[in-house]
């Protein structure tokens, strides 16, 4: 049985797709057969970040409509043969995805994969709901600013009340915080919220802090998930995230302005 992870945020442009690509690659590189699904119908960009846009023949909607089999639509990653991408359709409208159809495909994938990463579209509308409905774990991607934190809080409310686990009264979706595009110098100057401020509001288990880094743009331009750039701080931060998610205990880094090493026990407020 696969573990289904939704990468969600409410707000757009915070780093969901970057995160989805990175953690899917990270999990696959550690030997777990992983599929990453683009739920952003109409906006297709996961395939760009994964560098497989020229190999897209069929997409998620084709599979749901029975126009192609999963095997036909899944694209094997060029850097890691345990990683597969299910791209979104650029041409279809959002209503092409249905709850039943998504469920059917996740179930089929579950037989063969260990992890399924769902890259959610922005907003709290149908697309985001479909991406989170079947989730076991949620990576809540948040930028250190008030509107992003508020949207994440909203998303957490939806996870807690509208997910399948909530509906069935099962163990709740496990929620993790990913603080991305974190810029310690701008936190220091008060332009951005600090980690403590964010944690004060969200009280979530912190999976990692991804610093603002030029390497992210470079990576996405070259179609290689940033986690493969081992020299970049963002790449290392994502590597930590995957390790922590799989149960490793690693101290948090990239919190402070280079100099000091900040050590403190983070995690959900009890």
């Amino acid at each position: 049985m696969a573990r289904i992870i939704v990468v969600t945020s409410g707000k757009g442009g915070v780093g969901k797709t970057t995160t989805s690509a990175a953690i899917a690659m990270g999990l696959a590189k550690r030997g777990h057969k992983t599929a990453v699904i683009d739920f952003d119908v109409g906006l297709r960009n996961l395939d760009l970040i994964m560098g497989c846009e020229r190999r897209v023949v069929y997409d998620f909607v084709n599979v749901i409509n029975g126009e192609a089999s999963l095997n036909q639509a899944l694209i094997r990653d060029k850097n890691c043969n345990l990683l597969y991408i299910l791209p979104a359709s650029q041409t279809r409208d959002k209503d092409a995805l249905t709850l039943e159809g998504v469920g059917r495909i996740l179930e089929e994938l579950s037989k063969d994969f260990q992890y399924i990463v769902c890259d959610s579209p922005a907003g709290i509308e149908k697309g985001a709901y479909l991406a989170l409905y079947y989730a076991d774990d949620a990576f809540v991607v948040t930028n250190p600013e008030v509107s992003s934190v508020r949207d994440s809080d909203r998303m957490l409310g939806i996870l807690a009340s509208k997910s399948r686990r909530a509906e069935r009264n099962e163990e709740p979706v496990k929620e993790y915080l990913l603080l991305t595009r974190y810029d310690p110098s701008r936190v220091k100057s008060g332009e951005m919220l600090g980690l403590d401020d964010v944690q004060d509001i969200l009280s979530l288990q912190l999976l990692g802090i991804i610093p603002e880094s030029k390497s992210v743009l470079t990576a996405s331009n070259s179609g290689i998930p940033v986690i493969l750039d081992e020299k970049s701080e963002a790449g290392q931060a994502y590597e930590d995230v995957v390790a922590r998610y799989l149960g490793e205990d690693r101290p948090h880094r990239f919190i402070e302005d280079k100099k000091g090493f900040f050590r403190k026990l983070f995690g959900g407020k009890s």
Binding site: D153, R154, G157, I158, S161, S203
Partner: protein
Amino acid sequence: MSTASQKMTTSSSVLEFKSSTFFSPILILYSNDLAAIEQSLQDKINRAPDFFRNSPLIIDLRELNKSGLDISVIEVTGMLRKIGMFPIGVRGGNEQQNKQAHKLSIPVDAGRENDSVIAASITASRKESGARALEQRFAEQSESSNPSSPSAGHVEPVSTLAEPIRSMLITQPVRSGQRIYARGDLIVMSQVSAGAEIMAEGNIHVYNTLRGRALAGVQGNTAARIFCMDLQAELISISGDYKTSEHLTEQTQKKPVQVYLQDHALIIKEIA
């Protein structure tokens, strides 16, 4: 083909059924004196016109029949309609009364005992119209009835559900966009986020940070209170009297406090 018929054929469906829970006041009659009932009702309408205007209503005749008092459903219905109420059901009637109800196309035995039909307290006000728009999930949990104050006259719409009012306990965080409604007291162990709204007909206790909106005594209970460990609320309200965050003074912000009503003024006191 005419435009009208085209419309007919292109529309895929003409109706849809949806299940729902419907809240309606129950009018329990203790006397068969029509004039006295009308007088008593009129008094109550005058006091809370918003609450009763066009209100649907279930007529409960059980008490009358228990005491062997007869009344005509046709006459009661006529009187109720005259004063602007809409009887939508009769319960506890005898054979003849049920027949009369049938003649008027009013359903019989409406609102069975274990339905979540609540009896409206005659003193209740609808200051918080939002209170009705509860999230279904929470609506299903709450089933206890409204406390009603005994009133003079022959008509005493009290709850027929003799259950005690249960309090509601929430242990998960209440996130932005979520709403919770409790018919009795509401106890929240986790934080209440900005953009969240918690409401109770009774008291509200928040054993954590309150950043959202908290409304106690939403059906008019002026004795309701709000207690919280860390007050950073966007709005607090008791029985319709409210304060927004800009009027919460510095000295009570971020401190354990209780909030209560005194002569229509919200008092916020630190809990020592």
